[in-house]
Symmetry: C2
Subunit: 435 residues, 2 copies
C-alpha cells in the first residue's frame, strides 16, 4: 500500500454509458446556463414553482395517513407502510388507477400499475425487460427526450431514429424502418412516443394519426411505449385521448409522471403494464409483475415518504390531477399565449424574407421551437448569454449530433409574462445581430 495514486481508473476503462455523449453535451449546456444566472432563461424545462409551499408536505403526509386509517388500517399497519420495506409495486397504485379513471377515462387494473422512482426508472425497467438481446430494436422519433436516450444507453439498447414532422412521429418513416429492420433480421420490439406536446419539439399527434399509429403497431407486432408528462397542460379546447385509451388489445405500455403535476423532486412515476406474459409452462402473468421483479433489483420499492406525499396530494384533490393543477395549467396556458403572441409581434412581419425566422405553435405543454437563419450552437448560446442576456437550448442536443443545428427550444414554464417579453426582445436583438 505505497502507491498513493492507485487505483487510477481511466475513463476508457469504464462502461461506455458513464460518458454518454448526449449527457456530456447536456452537462456542457447546463454549465453555460449556470454561468449566467441573471439572464432571462428560455432554457429551463422545470415546472413553475410559485404555487409550491413547504408546509404542504406535512399536510400531504397527514392526508395520506388519514386515508389509510379510513380504509381500516390499524396504527401499527400504518406505521409499517410509512417506515418499512413494502410492496414492490407500490402502495398508491389504487389512487393512481382512480386518477386515470377520473382524468383520462382510463379503466386500469390497479395490479397492472407499478409505482416507480420517477418516470426515469420506469424507462429503465421497461427497456431492460423488453430488450432481450442485440437483435431487439427500439424505435423513437428524433429529436428525442435526452432522459429516454440515456435510459436506452444504460441498458445497452440501440435506438433507431424515426423522422418527426409538425404532426409528430412520421408514420411512413416508422413503417419503412420497421420493415427494414425486419429485413435485416432484427426484431422491432417497441416504439417510444410522446403523443402530447413532446419535449423538445412541442408537437402532438392528431387523433387520426393516433389511430393510424395503433393500427400500424398492431399490424407489425410492435409495442408502443407512451410517455405522457404534459397532456394536462393543453391550451383551450378538448384534449385528445391517450394512446392507452385507444388500446383494447394492450399494445401500449403507459409511462406516467408526477414531476410536472405534483412536483419533480418527489421522484414518483409509474408504469401501466397490463400485458399478459406467458411462461414456458403456459402460466400467465402480468408484465407489471415482471417489471416489479426487475425493480426489486434496481431500487426495491419506491420511497414510502415520496409515495405518501403524492398519495396525500391525490387524496386532497379527489384523485384528479386536472383539478390539482388548475393554477399551474393556467400559468402554462397564459405563458404559451404570451410567447406565441410575442413571437408573432416581433417576427411575423418578416414572413417571405429569405432569412426569416419561423416557429411552431404547440397547443400546450412547455416548449416551442424556433428555426433560425444561422447556426445556433453552444458557442452562439454563450454569446447570446454574455452579450444579450438571454438563454435558450440548442436543439442539436436532442438530435445526438445528427441535426437541429438551426433550431432552438424555447421553454416558458418558469417565466412571468414580463420576463417572456424582455427575453423575446433580447432574442430579437441577437437575431438582428447575427444576420
Amino acid at each position: 500500500m505505497t502507491d498513493p495514486t492507485w487505483p487510477q481508473l481511466t475513463l476508457a476503462d469504464l462502461h461506455a454509458s458513464v460518458d454518454d455523449p448526449a449527457l456530456t453535451s447536456m452537462t456542457l449546456l447546463n454549465d453555460i446556463v449556470g454561468r449566467y444566472p441573471s439572464a432571462v432563461s428560455f432554457a429551463a424545462g422545470r415546472p413553475f414553482e410559485g404555487f409550491y409551499d413547504v408546509d404542504d408536505l406535512p399536510r400531504y403526509l397527514s392526508a395520506f395517513r388519514t386515508h389509510l386509517q379510513d380504509r381500516g388500517m390499524a396504527p401499527e399497519e400504518v406505521r409499517r407502510v410509512f417506515f418499512q420495506y413494502g410492496r414492490t409495486k407500490g402502495f398508491i397504485h389504487d389512487l393512481i388507477a382512480r386518477q386515470l379513471e377520473t382524468d383520462e377515462s382510463l379503466t386500469v387494473n390497479p395490479e397492472a400499475v407499478l409505482v416507480t422512482t420517477g418516470c426515469q426508472e420506469a424507462m429503465i425497467l421497461v427497456l431492460r425487460a423488453l430488450f432481450r438481446d442485440p437483435t431487439d430494436v427500439l424505435l423513437a422519433a428524433t429529436p428525442n427526450y435526452v432522459g429516454f436516450l440515456g435510459a436506452a444507453r444504460v441498458v445497452g439498447v440501440t435506438v433507431r431514429d424515426i423522422k418527426e414532422g409538425p404532426g409528430g412521429i412520421d408514420l411512413e418513416d416508422l413503417e419503412r424502418q420497421i420493415r427494414e429492420a425486419k429485413a435485416e433480421g432484427l426484431r422491432p420490439r417497441a416504439c417510444y412516443v410522446v403523443p402530447d406536446f413532446a419535449n423538445p419539439s412541442g408537437v402532438s399527434l392528431s387523433l387520426p394519426d393516433r389511430v393510424a399509429l395503433m393500427e400500424l403497431a398492431q399490424r407489425e407486432g410492435v409495442l408502443l411505449i407512451e410517455d405522457n408528462p404534459y397532456a394536462l397542460f393543453h391550451s383551450a379546447g378538448t384534449r385528445l385521448p391517450t394512446l392507452k385509451a385507444l388500446d383494447p388489445n394492450r399494445q401500449v405500455i403507459y409511462l406516467g409522471s408526477f414531476a410536472k403535476t405534483a412536483f419533480a423532486g418527489a421522484r414518483v412515476g409509474y408504469i401501466i403494464a397490463d400485458q399478459v406474459v406467458v411462461a414456458g409452462d403456459g402460466t400467465e402473468s402480468l408484465l407489471a409483475d415482471h417489471l416489479a421483479n426487475l425493480k426489486s433489483m434496481v431500487t426495491l420499492n419506491t420511497s414510502t415518504v415520496a409515495q405518501a406525499v403524492i398519495g396525500g396530494y391525490l387524496v386532497e384533490n379527489g384523485c384528479s390531477l386536472e383539478r390539482a393543477t388548475k393554477r399551474e395549467a393556467g400559468t402554462y396556458r397564459r405563458n404559451l399565449d404570451v410567447m406565441l403572441t410575442g413571437l408573432a409581434a416581433r417576427f411575423s412581419h418578416e414572413r417571405g424574407r429569405p432569412d426569416a425566422v419561423s416557429w411552431n405553435a404547440p397547443q400546450g405543454g412547455m416548449f416551442s421551437v424556433m428555426t433560425l437563419p444561422f447556426r445556433a450552437d453552444d458557442a452562439l448560446l454563450e454569446y447570446s448569454a454574455a452579450e444579450f442576456g438571454v438563454l435558450w437550448t440548442p436543439m442539436h442536443h436532442f438530435y445526438a449530433g445528427t441535426g437541429g443545428f438551426h433550431q432552438i427550444r424555447l421553454s416558458f414554464s418558469v417565466l412571468t409574462p414580463p420576463e417572456i417579453a424582455i427575453g423575446l426582445d433580447r432574442l430579437a436583438a441577437l437575431i438582428e445581430d447575427r444576420r
Copy 2:
C-alpha cells in the same frame, strides 16, 4: 385491432433478468412466509419498528428546513430544494460526510459522496460503471446477499463465487481465483465484501484479515466494494475499522445505507467514490461524478422528500447514527444474546453427537446461521410452519442453488425475547421430529 390477445408476450422473449432464479426463489420463500402470518418468524430480515412514529416524519422535514435556513438559504431556495429537480449527487452529502467523520472517524470529501435511491441503486450504479465488457469479472463471497446478486444480474455482470469461512471471505481462495481469472485473460475488476455481520451468514472479518484483504487487492489491482449496513449493531466491545478507514490509496468504494438505521422505506443510501478517473486528454475527475452521470439516467436525483427526512434525522442526532440508533442497537444486542443463550440452553448438551446441530456466534448484526443434520429446504420450511409454527430461511437461497442445503438463517431483529424463546422451542421440536 381485432385480436384481443395481442400482443401476447412470452417470458422467454423478455430479458433474462426478469426471471432471475435467485429472485424467483425468494418470491417462493416470501410466499410460504406470507401464508403463515401467526408463526414465529426467524425469516424476516427487517429492522425493528417499535421505535418508529409517523409523527417523526414532519418533525424531520421541519428540522431539515431549519437546517437549510440556518445555513442562510432564502425561503425560495429552500422551496426549490424541497420541490424541484436538484443536484444529481444529492443535497445531504455534507451531512453524510459529517456522520462518517463522527461515527467512523472517516474523513470524506463531500464531493465524493453520491446520495442514491437506497443502497440497491448504489450497487446498480457501481456495477454498471466498473464493468465495461464481459472480460471484467466480479468476485464475491458465497453465500451472498440476494440484492447484490440481483443487481449484478440486471447489469449483466457475472459473479465468481469465493469461499466464505467462519472468519468471512476466504483470502486464499480469493487470491487463487483472481490469478485464475487473469490466466484466463479476464480482468478481476472488483470484489464485493460485507466485512461486518454479513447477510446471510453473520460472519465478520478480523482486523488482520481486513489488512490482508487490502494488501491483496492492492497487489492484484482489484477494487473493493465495501457494503456496510450492520456495523453499528455490534455486541459489546470495540468496533473494527471499516475497510474504507484503512484505505489511504482509495481502493475501496464504500456503499452506505440508512435502511437499518433511519428506516428502510425512505430508500436513501449513498456511495463514497473518491477514486480519480483519468480521461484520454489527461483530465482528472472523481468517480462519484461519473456515477452521478449514470444516476441521472437511472432515477435522476434521489427523492427530495426522502433526503429531507433523512437529513432532518441526521441533524436531530448531531450527525451521529450511533447516537440515533442507541435504542435499536440495544434491542438487537439483547436479541442476539437471547438467541445465542437460547440456542446453547437447548442444544449445547448435544455436542459430540454425530447428529448434533451447530450454530455460529456472530458478534452483532441481525443474523445467525444454524447447521442441521438433515436437508433444510423450502419443503421443510413449509412443514415447519404448518406443523410447528416457526419460520426461518433456507440458506440455499443465498447460494444460487450451489450449497447451503443443511443450513438455515435465523434472524432475530423484529422479535421480542419471549417470541425468540417460543420460536426456539418450536425449532427444537422440529429438529427432534426430523431426526
